[in-house]
Symmetry: C4
Subunit: 205 residues, 4 copies
């Protein structure tokens, strides 16, 4: 299954490029919508059992909200990344597929997290999945820039790199924490709302 | 996870704008199609049991029909809203994602309503879900107009506002009604077929 | 939930028109792909039980193949219909949504047919579902033409009408047959491979 | 259900052609994302049972990774094939639908393989499914070229043919092997990483 050696200019292959983007958008929108399948109620409950069952969905709903925000955020980043792509080749397509494979795994990790929210393996699985998404995205970005497929100024590039490293770092840091305090580890993810990358990237200038 | 500060003109970023719309359409079309997964029959039924099982799907079918109409209607409104957008930024994208998150929850609320159609928690869940969709949509519309991202004349804007308030009002009104008469509350939704917004919006002129 | 009174020319609203088509394509492609969810094997089978389980999927596979062909065929017809549309309004959008609602039901009818292939209710459900798709499509076509939204020559229009009536007729005819001989009724559907519409439509000329 | 006799030039029917490609992309992206539904954990596990359950997903994860790579690869091939199409007709649409039907079956074959990875029927089902995808794709390519719908130079055409035959050959060869050594047969698929087609196709020149 060898890749395509040839590099194609985007402006001369707008339709082909459009298909790559459309396929990626399709995968993102399906993955984000499949999250709802993790929610559900048992049949045949009576009286107040239904309310209890709905309240039992609370952890699933939190996992849904987090994962929706995360996939939505990754989609925006992916969308911005591809808007700066000026040429593509088989290698970029392969890296993009690898990236999407980890996006597609999120509904599974989300299901496990929602079902077992206070337990070590669930938190570790979720953290590793999301860290890998970010790291593959970083790899794809650096690789595309190095090979001249991407037009991006130095500050933006540095900012994206720092942001990716920061997000991956937060998720990876929650792995050892989950081993000792799985209940606490997800709170570490609130650090994602503090984003130092923009400030740090401009410090050098 | 900071937003994108920059505001982009739609006409200069038609491809990027197209992706936002395509992603939203993807989410809408998947959510509307996933509704069918709430329908199903058990295996291994014999004789007249299958007919009974199919008739037992009646509530699920009603919930399917209602939710299909509702998501379809929201899609038309979303579609018309984005056709009037002239510029976009990270804030609009974030609000759009929040809106889509509540759209994606509809198949879940629909499943609960179909399974427990005469019960208070199911009616409340469904009503709240749909009311929130409308209110987030209203928020997105007012916010986009205030920041100059939307071109829309005064009458249309007032009409949209009144219509949103009316739909949200009907759903929110069915919440207290569901607490005392959950069997009756869904009939309140027939008020959605009476739409006074167009007449009211023009009254001032 | 009133419709949109205004009629829009396609050529002046190509992007909005594109969204309608893209949304419909999304629904078609998801419905056709969800058919695979009706196939599946139980866990924990040992030895030759797996082979037996796979052979037990035979009826499900036939229902899958039939439904895939049918949805694919409907998609081609829909695709050709919309390529002839020159203007659209809220009424066409509403009819299109009604049409898509019945398309989305096909995976459910397919599941019931695959599970209970020799039984009357399953055959009736499947036949009625597909007949309604065709009849709503016919309604949408006649309505669009009468209101000047469709450019189509007389022969093609007559051919489409005859074909729709023929397909709906075959499915509706299998309903009474299924009441007396549910095993035989599906064989009536082979009549779909004989298509007299093209010949009949040209007879008048 | 007769096809469309007429052949349409792509350049004069870019929108209609775009819909075929968009529909195909939709099916590919949904099929590749549905793979995640084969992963899942039971509810109510306690203590180390969750870790065991996650490790039990190992075969499912391997089947997921393989199928994701395979569908992604088929999508790239399909994408390249359609970028060389200059005209289309009902016959190409029908063959494309037949091709997509076998793509849609992959999540099912993947589920069976993941559940029963060391057993003959699962390996045979998976191999046959993928071999048929390749062979239908080859048929579609040869047919399209013979009827002048495809512009492709001799070397590329020969290379595509040899590659398809090679991939189908590897999968078909694993069928008899699976009958005697189902544990070993999947290792044969590593031969897919060796691709002799490019070298062989250029030998003649």
């Amino acid at each position: 299954m060898a890749g395509e050696a040839e590099t194609k200019r985007r402006e001369e292959n707008e339709i082909e490029f459009g298909r790559i983007v459309a396929f990626s958008d399709g995968v993102f929108s399906i993955a984000i919508t499949l999250l709802v399948l993790n929610l559900g109620v048992e049949k045949g409950l009576v009286g107040s059992e239904l309310i209890e069952e709905l309240f039992d969905q609370w952890d699933n709903l939190l996992a849904f909200a987090l994962s929706f925000a995360v996939i939505g955020r990754f989609w925006i980043v992916h969308h911005r990344f591809f808007s700066r792509i000026v040429a593509f080749d088989g290698r970029l397509l392969a890296l993009n597929l690898l990236y999407l494979a980890w996006i597609v795994l999120i509904p599974f990790s989300c299901e496990v997290l929602g079902e077992y929210s206070g337990e070590t393996p669930a938190v570790v699985l979720y953290s590793v999945n999301l860290a890998v998404v970010v790291l593959v995205g970083l790899w794809m970005g650096i690789d595309a820039r190095r090979r001249g497929l991407l037009t991006v100024d130095e500050v933006t590039h540095r900012e994206t790199g720092i942001r990716s490293a920061y997000i991956a770092g937060v998720f990876l840091l929650s792995v050892p924490l989950a081993l000792v305090a799985p209940d606490v580890a997800p709170y570490l993810w609130f650090l994602l709302f503090v984003d130092p990358s923009s400030r740090l990237a401009r410090r050098g200038d």
